[in-house]
Amino acid sequence: MKRTVRGSMLMLIAAFCTSVPGSAAKSDVIDDVQSRVVKIFGAGGLAGLQAYGTGFLCSADGHIVTAFSHVLDTDTVTVVLSDGRRLYAKVLGTDVDRDVAVLKVEADGLPYFDLSKAVPAGPGTRVLAFSNMFKVAAGNEPVTVQRGVISAKSNLTARRGRFEAPYRGPVYVVDAVTNNPGSAGGVLTTLDGRLIAILGRELKNSQSQTWLNYAVPIGEIAESVASIQSGEFRPRDRFATNLDAAGGCTPLELGIVLVPDVVARTPAYIDDVLPESQAARAGLAAEDLVVFVNSDLVGSIASLEGILRRTSPGDDVQFTVRRGDDLVSVTLRIPEPSAALQ
């Protein structure tokens, strides 16, 4: 009896919802969104890096959108669905520019968000944020839901070396503390559960020591996600599973001699530069550490080789190296196969 009364009260609140932007969210809306959100467990757990994250389903057969992060940097990424099912996920591809990755689990008939139906929002919009922050939820427990208001839509103009930010472009800024450890990849929705944006990472302004809670509009990532999902996206980084073995070039073909690749993640230090080579002409030198090729993070010699393999002859690639305390960028052109070692 009591339950019925409570139920009808909820219905009343729900009725207000449509007309009153200030009313509480319906719990069935929350349940519905939570069924589409997944917990992701992978690499991390050291040095303050969390080994967990959040993602959301974007297809009935198990495609999952999440943030591009170190959590995916492992052979075994585990995804826990809202019903508690624990599945291994394959990283289909990542777009580091959009800071987004697409995973795939073997399942079908799953509830999902249709990215094409995501809605735009403006300042003042009341929102709900769903994420596995602080790994509070385990197993089949629903993820955390928070409420807030979009305080601004703005461009995140951070750039490397000044304000570190993993993403440049339009973001929604939220007044609630939505971006916590593990939140990245979660969803921001309207009070009636329509998808607005994907939650970003923790972001701190190192000068003002303030934290920014932002989310990336779905429109900014939809294209990347669709092309990764359809297999048309050109994978450009080490997390990709379908490496293109043919083509590209080796560091040596550019005139770069790397230190011996002795451990699993040997940093890509330049040991020597061949005289008269492209690398020498561009000014690369011994003891430079290759940190980026284009916008792809170079974590190891293996990843550098992988990135170069996936280039095409004639491509201009930008090498960013760390030399002392400076970052130096040079552009090299991938040689034709016959033109190696000029």
Partner: protein, 601 residues
């Protein structure tokens, strides 16, 4: 980076305030919004008088609490009262400062009960059923964050329930939050121990913990409240003045890859093992809830005090079995003692790890002579306790404040005095029929005890250890001996007597008050109806970890000038032993026994 300064995280804490302001100043506000706002204001006005600002002796630090009874019992966090001594000062929103005394603590569950003194008509919060709390519900946190409330008007923050039945691992301490309510309501240092109310102003939890990581010890959108249903389970135990313990089943369970939860280890001394639970058995239900994950099992276990009986359903080879098991203590008494009041440790600076309880703010100057314009007019002073209250605290090992236990013992023991056996020194004979067919007669004297059931007689001298007589009853005869001791000599008949708190009788029945007695190895639990105060039964055990002889008393009947239960039903190790219908209770030497009642042949 965008104009970052305007997004100071601090702004979040003021969001609720700003919302209210903007609503008030808007030109055309929809009537529903105004209605919702006035509802909120009404709820806050109604519950504010129950919110307590707790100050440590000397005014260093403090926290919050909530009054739950008119006679002044206040629930707060253990970590608020930890190391503060037995007396403290509390402010209510009437602007007055009250003395308060520590009553009981639960170091594992981070709950403490204190009692406000000086009135018997304190405004009390209404308790909700926290099992009905749902994600998305609104939730008010009230209390004294950052010790801002110098006039004791509680700070109110409003948010949403972000998760229910959360399990929070112990963060390097005993402290474990099970089955707790997660909110995005802003909870900060000083909110600890304060109430979490639902939108109707009913108490759903006690705020006690926040997730913190790299952003400092302030709200980051994840606060945790101990569910009020857990507090309800522990409340009488806390009112007993004891240092109460949480429970363990005596079994370790794990979640398997197929999603089932099975027993991976089990303690052979546990009642669960004696009732048949084995390694490999799959847990199905526990405490009336389904068990889907190991976390869920811990969630259920964590809301019950040690010693409670709970129904447990397990599955073995497709067959389900339901058993009722008494939960064991989680800690040894000494482990909890270290956290208790008798050896107050320096207030621990918990590490910066996640999920530490919010640290209370320390005023810049701990000196009592703070500048007048900073200190509240009735600032708590380090002065002592009013003499009138000094005797409300009684130190004793294993107790937070023995005074409250003594009071409860006296209340319960007086109920047994009404049976009319107090002071009788002669032997006692209790006779009747067992299940209508068999005669049964107990002879209970100072030197020896005996029972005759049908033609079979068992007995023993009392100068040696008590035995399980008749065999396989758990000690029916020594149980009746204990009953005689209790009726004629009260607590004097035992080496240790204390009030335990309350529990549901036999795991699923009505809540009963429990009095514990020990003598030698043997122990007794005496059960008292909470509404009538009458004694409704007793469990006797020959020793720790042994199956009890469970006696349940029917209504009292008159036997001459005295009263005695007209029926006693007996049970042992999950098996009924029968019901005794009492036909005679006599004190004095039996007519047919010439000598002292030595064991009959």
């Amino acid at each position: 980076m965008i104009a970052s300064t305007s997004f100071q995280r601090r702004a979040t804490a003021w969001a609720a305030v700003l919302l209210t302001l903007s609503a008030a100043s808007a030109v055309a506000v929809e009537p529903e919004v105004l209605e919702a706002q006035s509802r909120r204001i009404a709820v806050i006005e109604r519950v504010s008088p129950t919110v307590v600002a707790i100050f440590a002796q000397g005014g260093q630090g403090g926290g919050s609490g909530v009054t739950v009874s008119a006679d002044g019992f206040v629930v707060t966090n253990f970590h608020v009262v930890e190391g503060q001594g037995p007396f403290m000062k509390c402010g209510l929103n009437d602007g007055r400062l009250y003395d308060a005394v520590l009553v009981g603590i639960d170091p594992t569950g981070d709950v403490a009960v204190i009692r406000l003194l000086g009135r018997d008509d304190f405004p009390a919060a209404t308790l909700a059923d926290s099992d009905t709390v749902r994600v998305g519900d609104g939730a008010y946190a009230m209390g004294n964050p950052f010790l801002l409330a110098t006039d004791f008007q509680p700070t109110v923050t409003y948010g949403m329930v972000s998760g229910v039945r959360r399990y929070q691992f112990p963060a390097g301490t005993l402290l474990e939050y099970t089955d707790c309510i997660q909110v995005d309501t802003s909870i900060n240092p000083g909110n600890s121990g304060g109430p979490l109310f639902n939108e109707d102003g009913e108490l759903i939890g006690i705020n006690g913990r926040i997730s913190v990581e790299k952003r400092g010890r302030v709200n980051v959108g994840a606060g945790y409240a101990i569910s009020i249903n857990q507090v309800r389970n522990f409340f009488d135990n806390l009112k007993s003045g004891r240092i109460v313990d949480h429970a363990t089943l005596g079994a370790v369970v794990s979640t398997n890859s197929d999603g089932s939860v099975t027993v991976s280890r089990i303690l052979e001394q546990s009642e669960a093992y004696r009732r048949g639970l084995q390694v490999g058995d799959e847990l199905v239900m526990f405490g009336g809830r389904t068990v889907d994950t190991a976390n869920q099992f811990k969630n259920i276990l964590g809301i019950y005090p040690a010693g409670w009986k709970l129904p447990l359903t397990y599955r073995r080879k497709g067959q389900e079995q339901q058993i009722i098991v008494r939960l064991r203590r989680l800690h040894r008494a000494a482990e909890l003692e270290l956290r208790g009041q008798d050896s107050p440790p320096p207030r621990p600076r918990r590490g910066p790890g996640p999920d530490a309880p919010p640290e209370e703010k320390q005023p810049e100057s701990p000196l009592p002579e703070a500048p007048k314009d900073v200190a509240p007019p009735e600032a708590p002073e380090s002065s002592g306790v009013p003499a009138a209250y000094a005797d409300l605290y009684e130190a004793r090992p294993r107790f937070a404040n023995y005074w409250f236990n003594r009071a409860a013992q006296e209340r319960l023991l007086s109920a047994l005095k009404t049976w009319g056996f107090d002071g009788i020194q002669e032997p006692l004979q209790v006779s009747g029929r067992l299940d209508a067919r068999t005669t049964i007669e107990f002879r209970l004297a100072d030197q020896a005890i005996a029972v005759k059931i049908g033609d079979r007689t068992n007995g023993q001298q009392l100068d040696k250890d008590l035995e399980d007589l008749p065999p396989a009853t758990g000690g029916l005869l020594p149980a009746m001996h204990a009953l005689r001791g209790m009726l004629t000599r009260g607590a004097e008949a035992f080496s240790d007597t204390y009030y335990l708190g309350s529990e549901p009788l036999d795991g699923t029945g009505e809540r009963v008050d429990v009095l514990m007695t020990h003598r030698g190895e043997t122990l007794c639990r005496w059960y008292f109806d909470q509404s009538t105060g009458g004694c409704v039964g007793m469990d006797f055990a020959l020793g720790e970890d042994q199956d009890e002889c469970e006696l349940r008393f029917g209504p009292l009947a008159s036997f001459g000038s005295r009263q005695f239960p007209e029926t006693i039903s007996m049970r042992h190790a999950g098996t009924d032993l029968g019901v005794m219908k009492v036909s005679g209770v006599e004190a004095g030497r039996p007519a047919n026994a010439a000598a002292a009642p030595a064991p009959m042949q």
